[in-house]
C-alpha cells in the first residue's frame, strides 16, 4: 500500500496548508467611494477550521493639492463582500486656518500679498496585517479596496504586494 502524506489532523499545532502571493497594479483615486486596488483573489479553503493570514505592503502618496479639510487615504480588506479590516488616515493632512491676516513679505517690500499654501506630497509606507476565519471550505474572494476619506486630492497607491496563507487549525488563540 502506498504511503500517504501526513495531514494536519495528526500534527500537534498547525501546518501551513497554502501560500499565495501577487503583485497589485498601481492605482490613483480621488474618490470617497472605495475602489478596488488590484484583482480578486479567489482561494479554495482546504479545511473549515483554517485561518487566512492576509498581508499587504506598498505605499501611498498624496499627489495633488489637498483642499481645506480632512484629506486622508483609506484602505480595507473585503472578503466575500464583507468588510474585514480598515486602515484609515494612512497618509494625508487636514489643512485649515481661520481669521483675517495681514501678510508682509519683507524681502520684496510687499504688504498684504496673497499667499497660496499648497499641501501635497505626503507619503507613507503601507502595511496591512490581518487574520480572517472563514469557518467554511467555501471559496473566499479577497479584495483590497482604497478611498480618499473626503473626496479631494489624488491618492496614488503603488508597489502593492499581497500574500495570503492558509494556516491549519486547531491551535489558535491559546492565552
Amino acid at each position: 500500500m502506498a504511503l500517504k502524506k501526513v495531514k494536519k489532523t495528526v500534527v500537534f499545532g498547525s501546518v501551513l496548508v497554502a501560500h499565495y502571493g501577487r503583485d497589485i497594479s498601481d492605482l490613483t483615486t480621488s474618490s470617497a467611494t472605495y475602489v478596488q486596488w488590484g484583482e480578486d483573489i479567489v482561494l479554495q479553503m482546504q479545511f473549515s477550521d483554517s485561518h487566512l493570514e492576509l498581508v499587504t505592503t506598498g505605499s501611498v502618496t498624496v499627489d495633488t493639492n489637498a483642499p481645506a479639510g480632512g484629506n486622508y487615504g483609506n484602505v480595507k480588506y473585503v472578503v466575500n463582500n464583507q468588510d474585514e479590516y480598515f486602515l484609515r488616515g494612512i497618509a494625508g493632512a487636514n489643512p485649515s486656518r481661520s481669521g483675517g491676516h495681514n501678510h508682509q513679505n519683507q524681502q520684496f517690500g510687499e504688504n498684504n500679498g496673497r499667499q497660496n499654501w499648497r499641501h501635497h506630497g505626503m507619503g507613507s509606507a503601507l502595511y496591512m496585517n490581518h487574520i480572517h476565519a472563514p469557518n467554511s471550505t467555501n471559496a473566499q474572494v479577497v479584495k483590497t479596496e482604497v478611498a480618499c476619506e473626503n473626496a479631494g486630492p489624488n491618492f496614488t497607491f503603488e508597489e502593492g504586494y499581497i500574500t495570503i496563507c492558509e494556516i491549519a487549525g486547531d491551535h489558535y488563540n491559546l492565552t
Binding site: 498547525s14 497618509a91 496585517n129 490581518h130 492565552t175
Partner: protein
C-alpha cells in the same frame, strides 16, 4: 493505547504551534511619556519556540495651533514601541512624526497628519511562561499641544516551533 498527535520533534522543518491575534482598542493621548496602546497574551507551548509578532495600525497627530500655542515650533516626534513582559523589545522612532511648522500667526486648530505604522519582530521567550505583548507609543515633544490618535491596531503572534535545521546558514539551529 490512545493515539497521540505528531509533535514538532518528528516533523521535517518547523510547524506553527499556535497563532493568536487581537484587534486593539483605540487610543487617544496627549502624553509625551510612554503610553500603553493595548496588549495581548500568549503562552508558548515549547520553551525553544520562536514568536513571530506582526503589528499594523495608524497613528495621526492633531496639532492644536490655537492661542496660546501660536508661534511655537511644532514638531511632534511619534514613536512606536513593542514591549514584551515589561521589556522593550523593539522601537521604531519617528514612526509617525509630523512635519515641522513655525506659526507666526494664530492658525486654527485641526491640522492632522496620519501615517500607517507597522512592526515585524521575532522574539525568543526561552520559557513556557505567559508572554504579554504590549504596544506602546511615546512622543518626543508636545509643542503645539495636540492629541495623538492611534487607530486600527491589529496584533498577531505566531508560535513557530524551534529546532529548524534546514535552509539556515550552516544548517545551524535558527534559535
Amino acid at each position: 493505547m490512545a493515539l497521540t498527535k505528531l509533535t514538532k520533534h518528528i516533523v521535517y522543518g518547523a510547524t506553527i504551534v499556535q497563532c493568536r491575534f487581537k484587534d486593539l482598542s483605540n487610543l487617544d493621548t496627549t502624553a509625551t511619556a510612554v503610553t500603553n496602546w493595548d496588549n495581548m497574551t500568549i503562552t508558548p507551548q515549547y520553551s525553544d519556540s520562536i514568536l513571530e509578532v506582526r503589528f499594523s495600525g495608524t497613528m495621526s497627530n492633531l496639532t492644536d495651533n490655537s492661542a496660546p500655542n501660536q508661534g511655537t515650533y511644532d514638531s511632534n516626534q511619534v514613536n512606536l514601541i513593542m514591549d514584551i513582559n515589561g521589556q522593550t523589545e523593539y522601537i521604531i522612532n519617528n514612526a509617525a512624526t509630523t512635519s515641522t511648522a513655525d506659526h507666526s500667526y494664530q492658525s486654527s486648530a485641526g491640522r492632522r497628519e496620519g501615517k500607517a505604522v507597522n512592526m515585524f519582530h521575532r522574539h525568543l521567550p526561552g520559557t513556557t511562561n505567559l508572554q504579554t505583548i504590549t504596544m506602546q507609543t511615546s512622543r518626543g515633544s508636545s509643542h503645539g499641544g495636540g492629541n495623538l490618535q492611534c487607530r486600527s491596531g491589529f496584533l498577531m503572534a505566531k508560535e513557530v516551533a524551534g529546532g529548524i535545521l534546514t535552509g539556515t546558514p550552516g544548517n545551524a539551529f535558527v534559535n
